[in-house]
C-alpha cells in the first residue's frame, strides 16, 4: 500500500477570528497528493495559495479540518523534519558562506562536520555550482542564490519539498533555466513537490497536476491534469504544452468571472 504524501481534509483557515479584520483565507479544501507527485497551486492573489502551503508545512494551523503528511499530522511531520522549504527570496544567511548555508539543516540535525561538507559538495554539484561553496551569498546572482536555496532545502533529502514562488523574482530566461534544473533534480531525487506560482506557463511546464484556486474564501476551483511526459526545452513549443496552458488559463478566467 502506498501511503499518500499529503492528505488535506476539509481545511478552513480564518485569520483574526472575531476581530473586525476577520478574513476567511481558505474554506472547505480537500486535496490528496501522492508520493513523487509534482503539484502546483495557482490562482489570483489573495486566493490563499501561500496559506495553503504554510498549512501543509505546519507554519500555520488550520482553524478546522486536518492536514496529514506521510500518514501523520503535519505538526509531527515538521518535528520529524520531513520538509524542505524554498521561498521567493532565497533567504540565505549572509554571514554564512554558501556551503555553510547548505549545511545549516544538517548542522541542526547533528551531522558530523565531514558528512556535512561531503553533502554540501554533492548538493553544489547537483545545482551546478561546484566552485561556489566558499563564496558569500551576496557575491552570487539572484538565480545562483535561489539554486543554493534549493540545494539547502534538498540537502537532508526531505520527503516533501514546499516551494513558494521560488522563481518569482527571477528574469524570464533564468526562470526557464531554473525550471529545467528543478525538474531534473526532482527526477533524480524522486521527492514530492508542492509548488506555488502565479505563472500559467510555469505551472503547465512543471507539474503533474495544477490546482486552480479561487479567492475569498480560497477554495479549489478545479484541478488540471497535465501529461507532457518527460519535459525538455522543446516541450515549451509542444502543442500539448499550449493545450495544457490554455486549459489552466481558461480555468483561471472562469475564476475571475466568479463561476
Amino acid at each position: 500500500m502506498s501511503e499518500a504524501a499529503v492528505v488535506v481534509t476539509d481545511v478552513e483557515k480564518v485569520f483574526g477570528r472575531g476581530s473586525a479584520e476577520e478574513v476567511m483565507a481558505l474554506s472547505g479544501v480537500d486535496l490528496t497528493i501522492q508520493p513523487g507527485e509534482f503539484v502546483t497551486l495557482i490562482g489570483p492573489s489573495g486566493c490563499g495559495k501561500s496559506t495553503f502551503l504554510r498549512l501543509v508545512g505546519d507554519l500555520l494551523e488550520p482553524t478546522a479540518g486536518s492536514v496529514d503528511v506521510f500518514g501523520k499530522p503535519a505538526h509531527q511531520a515538521r518535528l520529524d523534519q520531513d520538509y524542505g522549504m524554498v521561498f521567493q527570496h532565497a533567504g540565505l544567511f549572509d554571514w554564512r558562506k554558501v556551503a555553510a548555508n547548505i549545511e545549516l539543516p544538517l548542522e541542526l540535525k547533528g551531522w558530523t562536520k565531514a558528512d556535512r561538507a561531503a553533502r554540501a559538495r554533492e548538493m553544489l554539484d547537483l545545482v551546478k555550482l561546484p566552485d561556489f561553496g566558499g563564496h558569500y551569498p551576496r557575491q552570487l546572482s539572484g538565480g545562483m542564490q535561489q539554486r543554493v536555496s534549493i540545494a539547502r532545502a534538498l540537502s537532508f533529502e526531505p520527503r516533501l519539498l514546499l516551494m513558494d514562488e521560488p522563481f518569482g523574482a527571477l528574469d524570464e530566461m533564468t526562470r526557464e533555466h531554473m525550471q529545467g534544473e528543478l525538474l531534473r533534480i526532482w527526477r533524480e531525487t524522486g521527492t514530492t513537490v508542492v509548488f506555488v506560482t502565479h505563472s500559467i506557463s510555469e505551472s503547465a511546464f512543471l507539474s503533474n497536476r495544477v490546482v486552480v484556486l479561487s479567492p475569498r474564501p480560497g477554495r479549489i476551483h478545479s484541478i488540471v491534469e497535465v501529461d507532457l511526459g518527460e519535459r525538455t526545452e522543446d516541450t515549451r513549443e509542444d502543442p500539448q504544452f499550449f493545450r495544457a496552458s490554455t486549459e489552466i488559463r481558461e480555468a483561471l478566467r472562469s475564476v475571475e468571472d466568479g463561476s
Binding site: 521561498f87 527570496h89 533567504g91 554571514w95 558562506k97 541542526l108
Partner: protein, 280 residues
C-alpha cells in the same frame, strides 16, 4: 587613521588659537560689530593651546613624589579604565540578557521597555550615593560600585539595539528555522544573534564611551581617592589658579574615551575582516 587624527588635532588647535587671537584683537566682540562673543578669550577661560599641551609635560605632585602630568593622568586613567571595563562588560551582559528576555516574552517587552527608557532619566549624581552606600554595606570595593554606575549607563544602548537586532530577521528566515523544527534557543544562536551583529557593534561603541563617562562621574560623586574623575575634580577646584591643568585632564579623559572606542572598533574589524578576506 593616525594621519587623520593628527590633522584633526591640528585643526582644533588652529581653531582654538584663531578664535582666541581674533577675540584678543577686538576685545571679545564680533569683528566690525559691537556684539560680544559667547566665550571670552582671556587666558583664564581659554588658555593657550601650547600652555595646555605644555602642562602635559610639566611636573605635578602625586602624594609624596612628583611626575610629569601626562604620566600622572595615565596612572589615574588606569584605574578609571578598569572601572570602565568592568562596567562595560556588566552592562553588555545585562543589556543582552534583557534583550533576550524581551524577545522571548512580549509581555516582558511591553512591561520592561518603558522602565529601561525611564532608567536613563535618573541623574547619575543621585544614583551614585545609593549604589556606593549599598556597596559599602555589602563590603564591596568602591571600584565595583563605580563599575556598577558605569554599567547603569552602558546597559541601555546595548539592550535597546540588541532587541532591535534580534527582531531584525525576516519572517521567512524565522519560518525556515521553524520548518527545520529548530528550537527557540537554536533559532536565537543560529539566526537571531548573528543577524543582530550589525546592530550590536554600534551599540558597543556607544557603550564603551559611556562606560568611561560613567566611571568618571562615579568617581566624582563617590569621592574616591584616585582615578581620572578625582584628578578632574581636584583641578576643577583650582581652576582659577591653573586652568591649563583642568584642560589637560579633560584631554586625558577624552583620550581614554577614544581609546576604548578604538578598541571596540578593532574588535569589529576583526570580525568583518574575516568576511572581507574571502570576498577579495
Amino acid at each position: 587613521m593616525l594621519a587623520t587624527t593628527f590633522v584633526a588635532v591640528v585643526l582644533v588647535v588652529l581653531l582654538w588659537e584663531g578664535y582666541k587671537w581674533v577675540g584678543q584683537q577686538t576685545d571679545d566682540r564680533l569683528p566690525g560689530t559691537g556684539i560680544e562673543v559667547l566665550v571670552s578669550t582671556d587666558d583664564l577661560t581659554m588658555p593657550h593651546a601650547k600652555d595646555i599641551l605644555g602642562e602635559l609635560l610639566s611636573d605635578v605632585r602625586d602624594g609624596r613624589s612628583t611626575l610629569p602630568m601626562s604620566l600622572y593622568l595615565l596612572k589615574k586613567a588606569w584605574f578609571t579604565l578598569q572601572e570602565a571595563a568592568i562596567g562595560f562588560f556588566l552592562g553588555l551582559v545585562v543589556g543582552l540578557a534583557l534583550a533576550v528576555l524581551m524577545l522571548r516574552w512580549r509581555v516582558v517587552e511591553r512591561g520592561l521597555l518603558p522602565w529601561i527608557n525611564v532608567s536613563q532619566t535618573v541623574p547619575l549624581i543621585a544614583l551614585a550615593p545609593i549604589i556606593v552606600t549599598w556597596g559599602r554595606l555589602n563590603d564591596l570595593p568602591d571600584l565595583f560600585s563605580i563599575s556598577l554606575i558605569a554599567a547603569y549607563l552602558t546597559f541601555f544602548p546595548v539592550a535597546v539595539s540588541a532587541l532591535r537586532g534580534l527582531q531584525s530577521p525576516d519572517v521567512a528566515d524565522v519560518e525556515l528555522m521553524r520548518s527545520y523544527a529548530a528550537s527557540w534557543w537554536t533559532t536565537l544562536f543560529k539566526l537571531r544573534l548573528p543577524a543582530a551583529r550589525a546592530y550590536l557593534f554600534p551599540a558597543f561603541k556607544i557603550a564603551a564611551t559611556l562606560s568611561v563617562v560613567g566611571a568618571i562621574v562615579g568617581e566624582i560623586s563617590i569621592g574616591t581617592k584616585t582615578g581620572l574623575g578625582r584628578a578632574i575634580l581636584e583641578f576643577a577646584q583650582r581652576y582659577a589658579v591653573s586652568p591649563e591643568r583642568l584642560y589637560a585632564s579633560v584631554i586625558g579623559a577624552a583620550v581614554l574615551g577614544l581609546s576604548v572606542f578604538g578598541l571596540v572598533n578593532l574588535v569589529e574589524r576583526m570580525f568583518a575582516g574575516r568576511d572581507r578576506e574571502v570576498a577579495a
